[in-house]
Assembly symmetry: C2
Homo-oligomer: 618 residues x 2
């Protein structure tokens, strides 16, 4: 029987409870006039109305979205069973559902200081202050595998005591002053899409406020002469682009998390979007912004590049809420491109593709985007397509070495044509086979979907994690080979089926972003060691090959144990001094970004390890 | 009688002493196996063998270079007389020669701490430690108008006590440790080309070492795969490019000071080169570098862009030696361009030129360089040409509104052709008249020559200063108009002939670099008020229009009085904390970059004003 799903309808009777518990939660929340955190999955990725599920009795995997019900992905189940393998044994898709929201109990909020409470009541309306269980549960974690597993088993130890939804820069300033006065921890919360533990309350000694920025979602002005826009940073990706497009401009920042992340999150974590090769990374787009710190607001000059002392914007970019809260930003924008053309190419091997990529980079005539999938991710890509064409079948079954590449061009028609010609010449010299624009369209449609597959796998006794890095051209292939081999060796030697793939997503003159996705079977009791083992293994190998600890995911607490190896110790001291002057009581997102002195000295365990405890069975 | 000058010959008899005293000094120094500071003018700009002078009895101005003697610049004298005007009265070129080196007396060095001296002797060879008068005089100032005037009247109050010429990173580390131990002030000295007082010893309480980095001039390696090069930062522009070109690559950084500045100076001051529109500003080229601070060496990761916390390189870029000394840098390089084509264009007006520039910027197809001279600088440009063509004459006499533009393209032939076509279309739509490649060639040959004209004017009872800024598109014309008007009004109302011109040299999506050159008659007793008045006036107007305090000249002590207006106070505190942690004794280039607390509170005068004292007559 095919699953019945009510398309695009909110609050109706729910017929899919056992397969997609998210639908049940959804019934509680109307989709209009609610805050963003009420619209998205509390225990998974993204839109509550979008999820993968199996069709019975065939076992075919299907996807349901707000606009299409139960669209079969005919090759995916087979791909998972065959690839997540050990000694030729196929894996089964066992059901491992999440706990339901109403089954979760969390501790009551800490008592609030009555003076602090009075001050908050003078700044905010009651509607901006939330202490209900749902608000607290949806602001405790991000979307890492550890976060989701903990949510799915109901392990929530450090929920923030209060959620505040400010609506203006002034409100954030007043809040910060008050929080500093009463020694209250303040954690900026954007889209909550981070996967490095960036927003999790991890100290237990003080009252914790999670500052949900998503009501600060206005584009304040667009200046088409300077090609800049002033934007409240709580705006989500799609809303931002929708607003900018009304003025005929775009930011051009499109990270994987685009649909569920905010401008503030992008700035605070040094985000990078799919088209960064043309439009730059977020630091290139940021002209100026206001940062509210416990000791005052730090402002920057709105103007083009200047060489007049230190460029202070870079002290906030990447500071991940540990120095304060960014409220409004002036961003560079660009006119909407006249042409946007995305093509698929198939290379005989990953090496062929990398050679072509390097030659394109050297040619100085760059596409807007070049993504290259290694053979394993190429097969995943074809296997997760809704249609089951002959070519897809051929790829996903027979060929072990070919690599898919998606190459996009944006700009004026004449510029796109010129760039295409140059790039296509290099591609054909490197054995690339053109697939036309159809794979480009598919990529554009599906580009945000991978986390939904992860949710499905979590529902079926598997886990998936990712690791990304910036690596030099010389270390790219050695890192790719060693990481893949080491990951599979590690898990398979323990009798656990595993799978790992990678793609290249951003290029620079001196390196690329290499992105790994890896998975294995969950162990029976949902114990977290496998995820932390996988993550540790991958991070060690990345650093061994001189890779960056992250290209765009950031640090949070997940990468802190490696920061002493990654950042020269002198800089750690500099960071601590900056922190001391802007946040003397350490109220802003403590224990993130950099090791504490105690962690460094071994007097305190890294959070990475503290949270690697054996969990109760489901 | 035409002046006799011995071409390209060093140490010979000098027949030009009264006109070009530099020649006399030169005789003392062989050109080989000497340090850079011994090769360049102690009281003017650049090569001792290159200078402007008049030919008697005609009064024609001529230029002598190492390869050409007394080449007449037939229109220049007339231009100066006519333009540096007041109520139609022409100005005469009176002789106001510099003092001679042997007429200058400077105070003996402060006594050196014997322990410090012993440590230095264990680190350095005697040849690396200089205390002679010439070494001390050539490391006290940069090349600002105030610096040159003070040198030319022999006013040298704060010469460094010791010049050290390190040859390796390790030597700088040892020196810094020792200096910190004995509380000795350390001032990094690159090419000494700065015009903001960046390297001047300005404290009188401690022993001062000027660290001349110019022996650290090796390209350590070039990696053609990553397109990076590791370079000792004391290397001068021409040597750097010569070395890189051996590997077929270029840095592409070509500031006005290129011939007499170092990579370290570029990094420490956030420099920007002529071709920044294509190759980026220095911060875009810098991958990583080592900075020796009093509390240890700060290192950065050599790799492509990463989003993993704060990008600490930006704390050193622009810090102007106040946090430590940069020793070695990994820089992005690029293959030598296949084609380099520079063209001249003439616009009917500055407004026409700016309209074209804005349209080119919006088209997203950018030349490598666009320089636009306003009508006054256009006439100067044609008047300082060696040949006296009919067109030059026409321009320099009759036309008051036309604007010269030099537009360059670099890259592969096909890329240059594509860009040219797009840019030329926009130019012709905006009334530009093509002059072919000859003005481009002239620009390339003469691009570093302006400071030599300044020296000539100093020799002839005039002074010249510059002010540059980054300004938004919207404020560009209003700033240009107001600054020019206000400058001339100010001086002419006092009965002093004056002159001001401007050009645009770098473009960004949200603004341009606007560069003013201004001059007036020196007052009779060489008192410095006119220069500081001019500088103050220009800086106030720049800030009024939202311009940057500098686009690429930096801060030094000249711009410090404006920093409280330019940088939010919170950032000043952050800077002070950073300084405190890396340089707790404040030994690195004190009183530069940021106001001290005492200056801010009015307890101490800004150096800008302290140095504005009435000087003795020549």
């Amino acid at each position: 029987m095919q699953l019945e799903v009510e398309d695009n309808k909110v609050g109706g009777t729910n017929t899919t409870a056992t397969i997609a518990p998210e639908r049940q939660e959804l019934a509680q929340f109307p989709q209009d006039n609610v805050d963003y955190y009420q619209k998205i999955k509390w225990n998974g990725w993204g839109d509550t109305r979008k999820f993968l599920h199996t069709l019975e009795p065939s076992g075919t995997i299907a996807i349901t979205t707000p606009t299409a019900s139960a669209v079969p992905l005919p090759s995916l189940a087979n791909y998972i069973k065959k690839e997540l393998t050990l000694n030729g044994q196929t894996s089964n898709l066992e059901n491992t559902p999440s706990i339901q929201l109403d089954q979760i109990n969390i501790a009551a909020p800490r008592p609030i200081n009555p003076s602090f409470e009075r001050e908050l009541q003078s700044i905010f309306t009651p509607d901006q202050l939330k202490t209900d269980k749902f608000a607290r549960i949806t602001h405790v974690y991000g979307k890492s595998i550890r976060d989701l597993v903990r949510l799915r088993i109901g392990q929530i130890n450090n929920a923030p005591d209060l959620i505040i939804l400010p609506q203006s820069h002034d409100e954030v300033e007043k809040l910060m002053q008050s929080a500093n006065k009463y020694n209250v921890i303040v954690i900026a919360y954007g889209g909550g899409s981070n996967i490095v533990g960036a927003c999790e309350p991890v100290t237990t000694d003080r009252f914790v406020v999670s500052v949900d920025m998503r009501r600060m979602n206005k584009v304040l002005w667009v200046d088409r002469r300077e090609m800049t826009a002033c934007i409240q940073v709580g705006i989500m990706g799609p809303d931002l682009e929708k607003e900018l497009r009304k003025s005929g401009v775009s930011l051009g920042h499109d990270p994987d998390s685009f649909e569920f992340s905010t401008l503030g999150g992008w700035l605070a974590t040094c985000s990078s979007g799919h088209q960064s090769d043309k439009y730059g990374d977020i630091e290139d787009m940021a002209v100026s912004f206001k940062t509210v710190t416990p000791t005052g607001t730090l402002e920057l000059r709105n103007g083009a590049r200047a060489g007049a002392g230190i460029n202070y914007k870079h002290i906030i970019l990447g500071s991940e809420g540990t120095l304060g809260i960014i409220t409004e930003a002036v961003m560079r924008v660009h006119p909407l491109p006249q042409a946007e053309e995305y093509f698929g190419f198939m290379f005989p091997s990953f090496t062929h593709a990398i050679n072509a990529l390097e030659q394109i980079r050297r040619s100085d005539i760059l596409p807007t985007m070049i993504r290259i999938y290694d053979p394993d991710e190429t097969r995943l890509s074809f296997s997760s397509k809704p249609s089951k064409g002959a070519f897809s079948e051929f790829i996903s079954s027979a060929i072990k070495h070919v690599c898919l590449s998606i190459i996009g061009f944006e700009g004026s028609k004449k510029q796109v044509d010129f760039h295409k010609k140059s790039v296509f010449d290099i591609l054909s010299k490197n054995g690339a086979f053109g697939l036309g624009q159809s794979p480009g369209k598919t990529w554009a449609e599906k580009r945000y979907d991978l986390p939904y597959i992860r949710d499905f796998l979590l529902n079926h006794n598997m886990w998936v994690d990712v690791a990304e890095t910036t690596v030099s051209w010389s270390s790219l292939l050695p890192l790719w080979k060693e990481a893949k081999q080491a990951f599979n060796d590690h898990f398979r030697s323990k009798g656990i089926p595993s799978w790992i793939c990678a793609h290249i997503s951003h290029t620079y003159s001196n390196g690329v972003c290499l992105y790994f996705i890896f998975a294995s079977k969950q162990n029976a009791d949902n114990e977290m060691t496998p995820y932390t083992e996988g993550k540790r293994l991958m991070t060690d190998i990345v650093l061994k090959h001189g890779g960056a600890i992250s290209h765009h995911h950031g640090v949070g607490y997940e990468h802190v144990p490696w920061m002493n190896r990654y950042v020269s110790n002198g800089w750690i001291n500099v960071y601590r001094k900056i922190k001391e002057v802007v946040d003397p009581k350490n109220i802003c997102n403590p224990r993130k970004l950099m090791p504490t002195q105690e962690e460094e000295n071994g007097q305190k365990k890294y959070l990475f390890d503290v949270l690697n405890v054996k969990q109760p069975k489901l």
